[in-house]
Amino acid sequence: MMRGWSAVFYREMLILRRRLWRLALSMSVSPLLYLLAFGFALGKAAGFEGRTYLEFLVPGLAAMSSMTQAWSIASEINIARFYYKIFEEIQAAPVSAAGYVLGETLAGVVRALMAVGLILGLARLFGVHLEAGPLLWAGVFLNAFLFAALAVAMAMLVKSHADQSMISSLVITPMAFLGGTFFPLDRLPQWAAATLSLLPLTHAARAVRRAAFGQPGDPLDFLLLAGLGLAAFLLAWACVRRARD
């Protein structure tokens, strides 16, 4: 059923290894700017629930980056599909649609884990020490799996790089800012908080933040991310099957 997933994953890892330093650099820029801007500009003036703003921000950045880096696998797929035509090579191989989705999704997850590792490392340089235990990584994994699978589906649906970029601007960028990354949703009007709690990133940010603060996780956050991840995987599977024509 998942035939060929390891070959698809291996290919992405070879490409990742080839671009490792460039990628690590690009993954570090945004979080570093956020840490500098919010860390130095706001300093200790702002804070929530007895924590500094940086302590609040870093888990949100981790959740956000796990989303954006997992989502970026769509660009890799589109380069392979529209520019190098590698997707045809994979389609002509005895690789099942589910195997392809799993391989690409896990590649997206690896990128996300790398990005979160970098953020936590950078945060330490800014004096932010958080608990990076299994619950934090589970939240990151589930969030990355969900958005990587969505990225595979999206990559199959778009007709060009421009379409891809437009979808990112319309969906991912607003979610990055509104999904509980930069501010606590309970300070918003009730209707706004309720609306934003529908976003998967809101649950990912909450799960990662609680884990990072050493608080017990809410099973609902993890179950929701896992359920949406499964739905996204099935959607991607259907899109890959459809892409054969």
């Binding site: 060929g4 080839r18 389609q91």
Partner: protein, 278 residues
């Protein structure tokens, strides 16, 4: 052995294939000739599993390819028209990925990579990033890659398009070797001389329909050996002759630009379809 029966495909109401049937035996090179839009690439895409047929069947080594598409794909090798290699990766890495995609174990991948890079005379480029290779070398890598899993059927979609004549001849020699090793080879091409040189049999495909299937010699036989070809003049027709002397004698009485040349497959194609290959 591969057999296509009544293959049909439609794109947005336009019939790309209208009941195409033919067979290719192991050790045979079979060429599909036709102008752009004739259905050559659609045929290759269906055989390689890139596109679903709307009707008909493909039987591969006695099994229905549409009923077991993953198995069918594992028996076919595809050299696509475009150079679809990972440009940032090395030659060996591209072959390694293909071997993994086709489920080859580690030892077999290593053996096949070494053997095939020798086969296409690129052993010294094993660790060179594909980006640094010439067009002809890249084409040879795609051919080596398609042979990694030792396919029984090799599908070559315009394998020499855009290559200079010297490189094209090297690729031809390679295709002949693959044929000698027993694979059934399906070749699509625009180049008349390529089909004449390589193919044991040629099919004329026009607007999704097969117009003729035969050996190049049999397809050209009705037209004799030599042709008087009036150049740049649509109002005058090509005239065919059995003997060169007769063609020259006819040409001596003609005015304007013309050439006396050997009859080729395009003459046969034009006679059967009323159109050229362009």
């Amino acid at each position: 052995m591969i057999a296509l029966h009544d293959l049909r495909k439609e794109y947005s109401g336009r019939e790309a294939l209208r009941g195409v049937s033919f067979e290719i035996a192991g050790g045979e090179i079979f060429a599909l000739l036709g102008p752009n839009g004739a259905g050559k690439t659609t045929t290759i895409r269906i055989l390689s599993g890139l596109t679903r047929a709307d009707g008909g069947s493909v039987v591969l080594d006695g099994r229905d390819a549409f009923l077991d598409p993953l198995w069918a794909r594992s028996r076919c090798g595809l050299v696509a028209q475009t150079i679809n290699l990972d440009q940032d990766l090395t030659v060996a890495e591209n072959l390694e990925i293909h071997g993994r995609l086709f489920g080859l174990d580690r030892i077999r991948r290593r053996e096949q990579t070494a053997r095939l890079l020798d086969y296409v005379e690129l052993a010294d480029r094993r660790d060179t990033p594909v980006r640094q290779l010439s067009g002809g070398m890249k084409r040879r890598v795609t051919i080596a890659r398609s042979l990694m899993h030792e396919p029984g059927v090799l599908l070559l979609d315009e394998p020499t398009v855009g290559l200079d004549p010297n490189i094209r001849r090297r690729i031809w020699a390679l295709i002949k070797r693959i044929q000698a090793d027993g694979a059934a080879v399906l070749l699509t091409t625009h180049y008349i001389e390529e089909a004449e040189y390589l193919a044991g049999r040629v099919a004329f495909l026009d607007q999704g329909q097969l117009k003729a299937v035969d050996t190049p010699a049999n397809l050209m036989r009705p037209f004799g050996q030599w042709a008087f070809d009036p150049l740049h003049d649509e109002t005058r027709e090509t005239v065919f002759f059995e003997e060169r002397e007769a063609a020259n004698e006819y040409a001596a009485g003609q005015t304007g630009a013309f050439m006396v040349r050997r009859v080729n497959l395009e003459d046969a194609f034009r006679a059967m379809t009323g159109r050229g290959m362009e």
